[in-house]
């Protein structure tokens, strides 16, 4: 169950305590996140909403180990990110986090297969094992027949599905999605949201998604609102709970 009150809960995968993030822009200090607390359980699908500049992406970057907080702690499955060196954090990211971006961010020089295979290059799997996993992931997102296509040969929705396959291929602990439907038409967005929902419901994936789209947020178990760096409201299942 998602909690934002700082009280410890059972079955917590991600635990955030008193998280602060400040940036220095010239002489001005920008306080992006202020004393944020959050607990996310395994298999939960959480959506973060809020106006631009509210700190949603910053929170996602911190949870993904791409950035370090100014204060506070983030613990994922017992690993405290804030105590890790940059190199260790990189290795941790490869094992535990799957990223899905608004602009898909596929490598244009690689085929769908090559893009999905990327995270597996960091594992000890041999070529045949990698191939099997990539084929499984692409089949899961419905693109088994587009394996040899380059991103330029795919539609936006298909590109995002390849990105989802890339995010799940190494079976990470959780997925971080930054506006995954922000660049898609309504139909494609719906397909992507169906896919994410299925990953959460059927495969028990923990998903944290930043979105501006209320229709996308509706798919989540819980919607959290960020405003000026503070989690001000919880909705959906968590609120109802």
């Amino acid at each position: 169950m998602v909690r934002v009150d700082g009280e410890d809960g059972a079955e917590t995968l991600i635990r955030v305590r008193n998280l602060d993030k400040r940036y220095q822009r010239g002489s001005e200090e920008i306080h992006v996140l202020q004393g944020l607390n959050l607990d996310v359980g395994r298999g939960e699908f959480v959506a973060f909403m809020g106006p631009s500049g509210s700190g949603k992406t910053t929170l996602l970057n911190l949870l993904g180990g791409l950035d370090v907080p100014s204060a506070g702690s983030i613990t994922v499955d017992g690993d405290e990110l804030t105590r890790m060196s940059a190199a260790k954090l990189t290795r941790w990211r490869a094992r535990h986090v799957g990223f899905i971006f608004q602009m898909y961010n596929l490598l244009p020089v690689l085929t769908a297969f090559g893009n999905v295979e990327l995270p597996l290059l960091l594992t000890r799997l041999d070529r045949a094992q990698r191939r099997r996993q990539v084929e499984t992931a692409l089949a899961l997102v419905g693109l088994a027949d587009r394996m040899d296509h380059f991103p330029r040969q795919l539609s936006g929705g298909q590109e995002q599905r390849v990105a989802i396959a890339r995010a799940i291929v190494a079976d990470p602990s959780f997925l971080l999605c930054d506006e995954p439907t922000g660049d898609l038409d309504r139909a494609s967005a719906g397909e992507i949201l169906d896919l994410l929902t299925a990953l959460a419901r059927e495969y028990g994936k923990t998903i944290l998604m930043v979105t501006h789209d209320p229709r996308a947020a509706e798919r989540a178990d819980c919607v959290l609102h960020l405003d000026k760096g503070v989690l001000v409201e919880a909705a959906g299942e968590a609120a109802r709970a």
């Binding site: 970057n61 993904g64 791409l66 950035d67 940059a86 190199a87 990189t90 290795r91 990211r93 490869a94 094992r95 990223f99 971006f101 602009m103 961010n105 490598l107 244009p108 020089v109 690689l110 090559g114 990327l118 995270p119 290059l121 960091l122 070529r127 890339r166």
Partner: protein, 379 residues
């Protein structure tokens, strides 16, 4: 090996740009190969000079002769194993463009001195038995289409008149780069037909010292032996003699070094700029790779690998082309053996890889230092 696909994919990203960069390396290495071959042509004597051979010339100048009688006196010196002599003839074949070195040699001792030149026994016997006989290098014979038994007219410039020779032997070098462009004929023919003043005189002596003999001491002993005589000598190792001979044509080595240096420096700047541009264009992709868990060191090595690969392919193409073209240059430069030694091929390729590495270094470091959050924010 599992990352090779990624490296190759990145290299193929902008095919035209990659081809142009590969082409830059190819042209630079082609030029390097030609310079190295030309350097070899000028310094060939130095490269292939025998370590156990000394050259004895007139102390005043190489164009001043030495008495033929010195041969016996040289042989009497301790440490001297064999002695032979030669005269410069300086003729041309058909017209001035067809210049190549011609030597009037002591046919009884010359072959034994230069064991690197391989001549079939029966051909040598034919040469020794024909006063107008001559021995030509295989490359020279090929250039003019000469074969055994041909009669070759040479117009003398120092010794006037048309001199006719019979091709009795064709020699081949036993090592790559051995000079196969020489023309030898018998000195007794020169004495017979030449002017009165050449009789009893040779151009220079070549002396072979025995194994383990101090060549410098023998050189000193020779010069001391003929000191205060009308024909004082200057003796030096064949290698030093060849080097000083080459330097008479100007400091070719320095010229080649300067040209080569400028070419490689320009290549470094051009390729460095191209690599920097390539990395700038891929900022987001590099950030995505790091997001997925690829390390900073991986980003560094990825960019360096691409740069080195392009340099290697271009370098290999250029140096191979140079190797293929050098035989044609030998045809175009009569009197010189243009040859690209294997060592220079290796050095050229190493230099290409080094330039590739240096050109990729700054972009690779910037890729390594790229902060994911900043790079993704720029999207």
């Amino acid at each position: 090996m599992k990352y090779l696909g990624l490296v190759l994919a990145n290299v193929r990203r902008k095919k035209t740009r990659t081809l142009l960069t590969v082409g830059s390396f190819a042209v630079a290495l082609f030029l390097f190969g030609l310079l190295a071959a030309i350097h070899f042509a000028f310094y060939q004597g130095v490269e292939v000079a025998g370590a156990d051979r000394l050259v004895v010339i007139n102390r005043v100048s190489i164009i001043q002769p030495l008495p033929v009688s010195y041969r016996e006196r040289l042989l009497q010196l301790a440490g001297v194993q064999a002695v032979t002599s030669a005269n410069w003839f300086g003729g041309v074949y058909q017209d001035e463009r067809n210049f190549f070195p011609q030597y009037a040699v002591d046919h009884e001792s010359y072959r034994g001195m230069f064991s690197e030149f391989v001549i079939p026994d029966e051909q040598w016997q034919a040469f020794a038995g024909d006063r107008q006989g001559c021995v030509v290098g295989a490359a020279l014979a090929q250039r003019y289409g000469w074969k055994l038994g041909d009669r070759i007219p040479i117009r003398g410039t120092i010794f006037p008149g048309i001199w006719e020779f019979n091709v009795r032997a064709i020699y081949r070098g036993s090592r790559p780069g051995d000079d196969e462009g020489q023309f030898w004929f018998r000195r007794d023919y020169l004495e017979e037909r030449g002017p009165e003043w050449i009789k009893g005189l040779v151009g220079w002596y070549i002396v072979r010292v025995g194994d383990g003999v101090d060549a410098a001491a023998v050189s000193r002993a020779i010069d001391e032996r003929f000191a205060n005589s009308p024909f004082e000598t200057k003796t030096e190792p064949e290698r030093a003699f060849a080097a000083s001979f080459a330097k008479q044509m100007g400091n070719i080595e320095a010229l080649i070094l300067i040209i080569g240096g400028v070419v490689f420096f320009t290549l470094l700047l051009v390729t460095g700029n191209t690599q920097a541009l390539s990395v700038r264009e891929r900022t987001t992709e590099l950030a995505v790779l790091k997001t997925l868990g690829f390390s900073d060191r991986f980003a560094l090595l990825l960019v360096l690998s691409e740069s080195v690969l392009v340099a290697g392919v271009g370098g290999l193409a250029g140096i191979t082309a140079a190797k293929l073209v050098t035989p044609a240059l030998t045809q175009a430069l009569p009197g010189f053996t243009v040859f690209l030694p294997t060592w220079d091929l290796v050095v050229g390729l190493f230099l290409a890889l080094l330039v590739g590495l240096a050109a990729g270094l700054l972009p690779a470091v910037s890729a390594m230092r790229l902060r994911v959050v900043d790079a993704l924010r720029r999207v």
